[in-house]
């Protein structure tokens, strides 16, 4: 590796992420350490359970609190989903809560939109104004004239409830900038979205996923255990030499956008060499004949040319996967916002898994387990005077109703097609910082009469709002219960109670929604407390709340394997659909058909996105503690490419696309293909009230173009070609 200045060593990395400790647990050295620790005076802190909120995983934690101040966050050793781990970001939660850049009181825009001039106002005035503006928007543009966007958070369900009783169908989540196409593909193959039994797998092909850096619990830890203790083989396909690739048995620097060709070739080998279990395929799947015919042209030689992976390797991997089946898998992955056929790419992943016969079996793909939590029903009113559907309806054939598509919605808002949207309420999501083509999101802001943002920090979305309301951090508030799927580790429930008093004038999203509802004569729909809400959620598992108070988590000892024994699959054929009947009816390809991605010409590169275990997009780039570990983002560029452009390591470069242009330092490294460049997201925020990330590095979403998956409207963030030029001082 030519340059390690910007990277942690492998050992540092695992220390930081907790995986090292997990691997060493129970070792003699650690026990020795414990004995020494016992001799030290007991700390004077109170210990309180909570669940982390530094990413979506919600790892169980114990907050150590002294004089009302959080001193330290430790993992909850009883929390099986994270295997008793709290990663570096989890530890840095303290720095988020006490970040001097946190929002402290309601702020009203006092200058031009995005100009950064604010006026402090009292809460009552803020809520009165927000409610009045919502009323005006509803009168003038009908209920659907207001958009609601909420991120991954336990209070987001209250934003959804508010939108529904207000009468708007227009709700978007973060998921259409992340994983909806993957969910679509697996739902349309198996009838539900699976969880991977990584722990018991003997052979895993991981493509488009980076599980040792983009942490998903328990998969990240279980993968390490499976490899180190159970002899699981890991094959990684990635244009970058990620830390996952570094630890794998094999790394193939696949040509970006060609994963489907690889998967279809695996299917070709497994079918032509009859390496599948014919009885299982006959009983459980639909469409093997059509699939066999379909994959005939997709030979390993064909895929080799596309992917840049030798045909012999592809055929061998297919045989090795089949030999280890059913305890082998194509890892389903999570984020699939990459190409315009990302649903069909993941359909190919799902189909190879079906050929391995791994569904509902040890080491394969598992169905969701029973958690026991119930929904809390409510009877929303009906507004006859309203638009007929979501603003993004009908633009792509198979959008998820409850997620929407942010990019399609944005285009529709800009075009006022089929109707205008003039109000926007955003909670804990930051499309200005995460959605491709930032300029369009700025334009979208200018389309609005009034925008209210609820967040803990002045995100870039908040920066362009009219009214910014400070919310409580996860350690300050009371949250509803949340059911979590932990694959073979557990099915569990967590809740959050305040471990410290709320800082400044912050309020919970629930309280804010309740305040707005009361002002809009919708108070009856929020006439409950969080405690009452939890009681309703846990009505079938009445012991759960007490158990959570005692252990910080409630486990449902539900069935793990064989959930589908004697049951139908939730598809049209009631079997696993290799061949998708609904796609055929809708005029979509019922089997994934490979289209070669356009290749960048010599002067340009494909820009790809990805993760680092210390970064959760824009929500951590300004975290003072994590900033010390990842002080900026850099452009990964291959030494051959850099040489031809006269770029040396550390040079300032300009990266330009059809959407925008940004400047950052080059990191010349052979950890990336020569036709591809990469940078971390979350940096160079517009908001000056994020003083560590503002003006620091480059904003990737300013450069990314806003293509999307043709089936779901999921963003496709690997389709942008950029030029890279050395900046002359």
């Amino acid at each position: 590796m030519p340059d390690t200045r910007h990277t942690l060593s492998r050992r540092d990395f695992f220390k930081a992420s907790g995986l090292f400790a997990a691997g060493a647990a129970g070792g003699a050295a650690l026990l020795g350490g414990l004995r020494r620790a016992q001799a030290a005076p007991a700390p004077q802190w109170e210990s309180k359970f909570s669940a982390c909120d530094m990413c979506f995983n919600k790892c169980g934690l114990i907050a150590r609190v002294e004089d009302g101040v959080v001193k330290k966050l430790d993992p909850n050793p009883k929390f099986l989903k994270s295997r008793g781990m709290l990663c570096a970001r989890g530890n840095a939660g303290v720095a988020q809560v006490y970040d001097p850049d946190r929002l402290k009181y309601p702020l009203l825009r006092a200058g031009g939109r995005g100009e950064g001039k604010w006026k402090r106002i009292p809460w009552d005035e803020a809520l009165d104004m927000a409610a009045q503006k919502m009323k005006e928007v509803r009168e003038k543009y009908l209920p659907c004239g207001h958009l609601f966007s909420a991120g991954t958070d336990l209070h987001s369900q209250f934003v959804g409830r508010f939108a529904e009783v207000y009468g708007s169908f227009n709700v978007t989540s973060h998921e259409s900038l992340c994983l909806v196409s993957n969910n679509r593909a697996f739902l349309d193959t198996y009838g539900e979205v699976p969880f991977a039994d990584v722990l018991n797998s003997k052979y895993i092909v991981m493509a488009g996923a980076n599980r040792f850096e983009a942490l998903v619990t328990p998969d990240s830890m279980d993968l390490m255990t499976a490899m180190r203790e159970n002899g699981c083989k890991l094959v990684v396909l990635d244009p970058r030499y990620t830390k996952t690739a570094a630890l794998a048995d094999e790394w193939h620097p696949v040509r970006p956008g060609t994963d489907m060709a690889f998967m279809l070739a695996l299917a070709h080998v497994i079918i032509t060499e009859k390496l599948y279990d014919p009885e299982w395929i006959e009983q459980k799947t639909y469409g093997i004949e059509q699939l066999a015919e379909h994959v005939k042209p997709y030979t390993p030689e064909f895929a080799a040319d596309e992917c840049g992976i030798p045909a012999g390797d592809i055929a061998r991997i297919a045989r090795e996967l089949a030999a280890a089946a059913p305890a082998s898998m194509i890892y389903p992955g999570r984020r699939s916002s990459d190409y315009e056929d990302s649903t069909q790419i993941r359909r190919a992943f799902a189909i190879v898994n079906a050929l391995l016969g791994n569904w509902d079996r040890p080491g394969g793909l598992l169905a969701a387990r029973a958690v026991g939590l119930k929904g809390v029903p409510f009877d929303a009113p009906w507004y006859d005077e309203n638009h007929e559907d979501r603003i993004d309806a009908g633009k792509v054939p198979m959008m998820f109703e409850h997620e929407g598509s942010f990019l399609v919605t944005r285009d529709c808002v800009l075009a006022e097609d089929p109707y205008p949207i003039k109000g926007w309420l955003v909670y804990k999501t930051n499309p200005m910082g995460t959605a491709p083509n930032r300029k369009k999101t700025i334009e979208m802001m200018h389309k609005m009469d009034f925008v209210t943002v609820i967040d803990i920090a002045m995100s870039d979305t908040a920066w362009f709002a009219d009214l910014v309301l400070p919310s409580q951090s996860y350690l300050e508030r009371e949250d509803p219960c949340s059911g979590l799927q932990g694959s073979v580790a557990c099915a569990c429930v967590v809740k959050r109670d305040p471990v410290i008093a709320p800082l400044y004038e912050s309020r919970s999203c629930f309280d804010i929604m309740k305040g707005l509802a009361n002002r809009l004569e919708l108070g009856e729909y929020f006439d409950f407390t969080i405690d009452e809400y939890r009681q309703k959620q846990t009505r079938d598992i009445p012991e759960a709340l007490k158990v959570m108070d005692r252990d910080g988590v409630y486990y449902n000892p539900s069935k793990v394997y064989g959930i589908y024994d004697g049951k139908i699959y939730k598809t049209l054929s009631q079997k696993i659909e290799l061949y998708n009947q609904r796609y055929e009816q809708m005029g979509l390809d019922p089997l994934p058909r490979y289209t070669a991605p356009t290749r960048p010409d010599k002067s340009r590169f494909r820009l790809i996105i990805g993760r680092n275990a210390l970064v959760t997009q824009t929500s951590t780039a300004n975290n003072p503690l994590l900033h010390q570990l990842v002080p900026t983002n850099t452009l990964w560029i291959n030494p051959d490419s850099a040489r031809s452009l006269g770029i040396a390591d550390g040079d300032l470069v300009q990266v330009a696309s059809g959407a925008g242009s940004q400047e950052l330092r080059a990191e010349v490294t052979d950890r990336i293909r020569s036709d591809t460049v990469y940078m971390l997201s979350g940096f160079n925020t517009l908001s000056t009230m994020q003083h560590l990330s503002h003006g620091n590095g480059a904003s990737i979403n300013d450069i990314l173009e806003d293509d999307y998956d043709a089936i779901t409207g999921n963003a496709s963030m690997h389709t942008t070609f950029v030029s890279v030029t050395r900046k002359v001082a």
Binding site: E164, L187, G375, P377, A380, P381, W382, M398, K570, L572
Partner: protein
């Protein structure tokens, strides 16, 4: 007399045809159906009666269920119009467990 009988038969046939047209289920307003389902059905099919939701059945099962409403036990007590019933059916069908967007509990 013969002519009169023909007219009566024709009228009956037309009425039957019209009724069956009105009961051809599907294509209703699923969003309104959700509201109507909550208002009219969930009082019984909510906390009790096995918490029936669109995701309780497949699309084919919902179609079969509504093809002969007399077999639905509570149908005698219904007070909804045919249009409203069609909206309710559309909601149940469009968010069925094998639909592209299976219902989540709310």
């Amino acid at each position: 007399m013969h002519r009169k009988l023909t007219l009566i038969v024709a009228t009956i046939l037309m009425a039957v045809f019209t009724v069956s047209m009105a009961f051809a289920m599907g294509g209703g307003n699923a969003r309104k159906g959700k509201f109507l389902y909550r208002k009219n059905c969930r009082s019984c099919h909510g906390a009790t009666a096995s918490d029936l939701s669109p995701a309780s059945k497949t699309q084919a099962e919902w179609t079969a269920t509504f093809s002969d409403k007399s077999k639905i036990k509570c149908s005698g007590e219904w007070t909804v119009t045919d249009q409203e019933l069609n909206d309710i059916f559309s909601y149940l069908h469009d968010y069925a467990k094998d639909s592209p967007s299976p219902a989540k509990c709310s």
